[in-house]
């Protein structure tokens, strides 16, 4: 349903669809229409111009009615083109699925055969096939189908290889499926949309190719009309009776154009990436559309980073995902703040919003202020933002491969980062880069600086990621789960490096994680996030020892600890609420065993005394 609507929304595709439908309906109705016999010759009536009495589109050189020939010819051309597409898709997809699913020797054999077929120019191949089989419409159909088999085989093989190693195929094997049953019930349903897309984008070509063979006299034989043969016959009279070639020419153009427009529409509508709008070009900085006036800055020397009432949402179609719903944070110079929460709680969007790195569209910052050294980044020009990014504030991400350029040596990437913010000579920059790599304990740094990212292990790459973030002596580093993808023994090393560097350079660190152990080892203060909001904050040791928010308390209880032995774990029933349908009042209320009527209405503020604060009406008692 949504697919149809998406095609309809695409104007060109809808136009193509309407034209094609009209052509197909007329062609289908041919036997019912009051048309003269298309093959009936009447030499006396030859070459009548269009709009003559009794022949709306005129007649050809044998006096046959052009309108009738056009409609019957279109019918034939469409039938042959579609039949060729179906045959090519069936044979090509079968080859592709078998090759992709079986792999190994069979794959090799089949695909080398296909490669050989592709080595010939396609028109030459089609001519050769017709030459062997003899001219005729059916043989032309075979030729066009054969020429298009490789396209399907290669496409479908690629998709199948990807699917054959997916876990659900293994799961089906373990459910007792094998061989043909596995292919038909597990692989085929996932390949089918790809086959449909491939067909819709090639069917126009196949109609054109069939017409081409007929034009050369190798397809339909006289007196039978198809669009190609009509064009071929009209060509001889191009000067004296141009309408005899213009009429079939215009029809070929209409068909091929409408098929291609519709095919592109179908492809776009079925492609999940286009569907979600992910391919639209994001803006250089996240859009800011504040609903209310910016909160005024506090006077005096404030913290290095002060976030007030930050709200970021994603507007996808009619839905609004409130990923960050009013976050307040402050980090003093040299302080490390841990931001902890479950997946989907808004940690990463918060981090990215600080320097407006959230992709826009669909992301929009709708409220709040982010002050770095007193300046509001949400009010900055893109140029000013670019100067801050990587210099005063830098990021470390979970997957360093995503931030490192795959084709540049890691040393060169560091040099580039240094020279982007300061006019340092190359040599000096290279020396600084190597020193930085040494500082993050990369063994043999001078040699490793010449490696490409893929030549390094995950732990080494993350060290390069840290070096890249720290090489310009930033004041604030935002690290988004930098060790989640790493093994514990590697993680321990990375955390130690990060901790050492931040103390030695007086860095401020915003450390995002979902691991209480890591927070307790690294962070001075911690902020706990749930459903887009901070629910509790305070000094790490105090929060972990005596959590005040029911969510924090129960989340800590869920985490198993080494040395506690075999036991039943605490669990929190239910799930966090989806951020496009947050409940009123406390977002944790549906899972909270202390929830009262009051918890489900109004706004609950983050309140507290001293350096601890909690967003709860009935916070846990703190033992004296």
């Amino acid at each position: 349903m949504t697919t149809l609507r998406l095609i309809w929304r695409n104007r060109l595709a809808a136009f193509g669809g309407i034209v094609l439908c009209a052509v197909v309906v007329v062609a289908l109705l041919a036997p019912l229409l009051p048309l003269p016999d298309p093959d009936l010759t009447a030499p006396a009536e030859r070459l009548k111009p269009p709009f003559s009495a009794g022949a709306l589109l005129g007649t050809d050189h044998l006096g046959r009615d052009l309108l009738s020939r056009l409609i019957w010819g279109t019918r034939l051309s469409l039938a042959v083109g579609i039949a060729a597409a179906v045959i090519a898709a069936a044979i090509g997809s079968t080859i592709g699925i078998i090759a992709g699913f079986r792999g190994g020797r069979i794959d090799n054999l089949l695909m080398r055969g296909i490669d050989m077929l592709m080595a010939f120019p396609y028109i030459l191949l089609a001519l050769a096939i017709v030459a062997v089989l003899g001219p005729g419409l059916v043989n032309a159909l075979y030729a066009v189908a054969a020429v298009n088999v490789p396209f399907f085989a290669r496409n479908i093989r690629g998709v199948t290889v990807g699917l054959a190693h997916r876990e659900f195929v293994d799961a089906a094997r373990l459910s007792g499926k094998s061989g043909a049953r596995l292919v038909f019930t597990e692989i085929l349903p996932n390949v089918l949309p790809v086959i449909v897309i491939a067909m819709s984008t090639t069917i126009g070509w196949m109609i054109l190719e069939t017409a081409g063979l007929s034009f050369l006299g190798l397809g339909s034989q006289p007196p039978q009309a198809d669009l190609g043969s009509m064009l071929g016959e009209g060509r001889k009279l191009l000067i004296t009776a141009p309408h005899a070639s213009i009429v079939p020419g215009v029809m070929i153009f209409l068909i091929v154009m409408s098929v291609n427009l519709l095919g592109d529409g179908v492809r776009d509508a079925l492609d999940p990436r286009l569907r979600s709008g992910a391919l639209s070009r994001p803006a250089a900085a996240t859009e800011v559309r504040r609903k209310a006036a910016t909160p005024a800055a506090g006077a005096g020397a404030g913290p290095l980073l002060a976030v007030e009432g930050l709200e970021t949402e994603f507007q996808v179609g009619a839905r609004v995902y409130r990923a960050v719903g009013g976050v307040d944070l402050a980090i003093a110079p040299g302080e490390c703040l841990g931001l902890i929460g479950e997946s989907g709680s808004g940690k990463s969007v918060t981090a990215l919003s600080l320097l407006r790195l959230v992709a826009s569209p669909p992301g929009v910052i709708t409220a709040g202020a982010v002050r770095i050294g007193g300046e509001d980044t949400l009010a900055m020009k893109p140029e000013a933002l670019r100067r801050i990014r990587g210099a005063r504030v830098s990021y470390i991400f979970q997957d360093p491969l995503g931030t490192l350029h795959p084709l540049l040596r890691v040393g060169d990437q560091l040099v580039e980062a240094i020279r982007a913010h300061a006019p340092v000579p190359r040599r000096a920059a290279w020396a600084r880069a190597v020193a930085m790599l040494e500082r993050v304990q990369i063994p043999n740094a001078a040699a490793r600086a010449r490696s490409y990212p893929h030549e390094l292990s995950g732990g080494m790459r993350q060290r390069v990621g840290i070096a890249l973030a720290l090489v310009n002596d930033p004041e604030l580093v935002i690290a988004d789960e930098p060790t989640t993808a790493l093994d514990v023994t590697v993680q321990a090393g990375i955390l130690a490096i990060l901790d050492g560097l931040r103390r030695e350079r007086g860095l401020s660190l915003l450390f995002i994680t979902h691991d209480f152990g890591v927070v307790s080892q690294l962070c001075d203060r911690v902020a706990v996030m749930y459903a887009g909001r901070i629910v509790e904050t305070g000094p790490t040791a105090e929060v972990l020892a005596a959590p005040r928010h029911p969510y924090t308390r129960r989340l800590i209880a869920c985490v198993p600890e080494i040395g506690a032995g075999r036991r039943r774990l605490e669990a929190i029933p239910g799930l966090p609420p989806p951020v496009d349908a947050l409940p009123e009042g406390c977002a944790f209320a549906p899972r909270c065993d202390k929830a009262a009527e009051r918890c489900r209405t109004g706004q609950i503020a983050l309140e507290g005394s001293g350096d601890r604060a909690v967003r709860c009406l009935f916070p846990e008692e703190v033992p004296a």
């Binding site: 997916r166 876990e167 659900f168 293994d170 799961a171 089906a172 094997r173 373990l174 459910s175 007792g176 499926k177 094998s178 349903p189 996932n190 479950e342 997946s343 304990q441 063994p443 292990s457 995950g458 732990g459 080494m460 093994d487 514990v488 023994t489 590697v490 993680q491 321990a492 090393g493 955390l495 130690a496 490096i497 901790d499 979902h514 691991d515 209480f516 152990g517 890591v518 307790s520 080892q521 690294l522 989340l555 800590i556 869920c558 985490v559 198993p560 600890e561 080494i562 040395g563 506690a564 032995g565 075999r566 036991r567 039943r568 774990l569 605490e570 669990a571 929190i572 029933p573 799930l575």
Partner: protein, 319 residues
Amino acid sequence: MSAALQVEGLSKTFGGGRSLLGRARPAVHAVEDVSLRVARGETLGIVGESGCGKSTLARMLVGLSLPTAGRIEIAGRDLSEQIGDPAAFGRLIQYVFQDPIASLNPRKTIRQILEAPLRHLAGLDAPGRRARISELLDAVNLRAEFLDRYPHEFSGGQAQRIGIARALAAEPRILVLDEPVSALDVSVQAQVLNLLADLRARLDLTYLFISHDLAVVEAVSERIAVLYFGRLVETGPAAEIFARPRHPYTALLAASAPQVGRPLSPPAGEAQELPDPYAPPPGCAFAARCPRAEADCRAAPPPLRPMGGGRAAACLHPL
């Protein structure tokens, strides 16, 4: 106690052999000479870091991957003949995947997914299948209205329950759980772990629980086996192995796991990575990182030797 699962000398080599031109292809020994015995009703935890061969071992145990060498015996039956036939294995031993969503076909409803093993492995007729499906849903605490929905409509925790229901459908005796909760949030992880514990007690199941999270493994297992670079380096009762490790690698693992209230402990020594799998060291694979390594460690891989108290370690100079 009788052994539910017994494995001897299981090995898996990827690549190797010769190419068409007669050049030797590089080989990776993903799993080497692993022998295990799991008693009926027991949970054996298997821990190790990424690339140590956990998944390769698990896939061999359920028949998804052909061992290069070794023997697999389930409930006293030698399954060497059925190797390469996951359906034969599937009636005795089943697999729960790490990524719950990826293990469900996106174009099938939950009912279709659960029907497959009932039809092909258990051979049930339609009324039998219907009854069994509602039993399975009850067992994993899912509501019947989920049956006609598609996988993408489920959260990770729900999808993993469906994965567990699929694995249990044909009433196997053993479940291989390959990182079944790593993709889940802690609050949901605990729900799934408790569900697994209930099912084990109720259905008298035997578990092989694979994970990189030491605390989780310790909380669910009776015995634990530590895998490093494709080999078993230590086995022992869960209550002792991390508290008093004998193998230096187990000690390093236990010390590296971040824990509330324990200061950071950066590992000593320069090399903190696994050896190159294409050029494995001749002796103990841990020697480059091991503070206790001596010359004899580098000669030949140390065998797994009993250390008393139901423990064994593959180390020449144990702690």
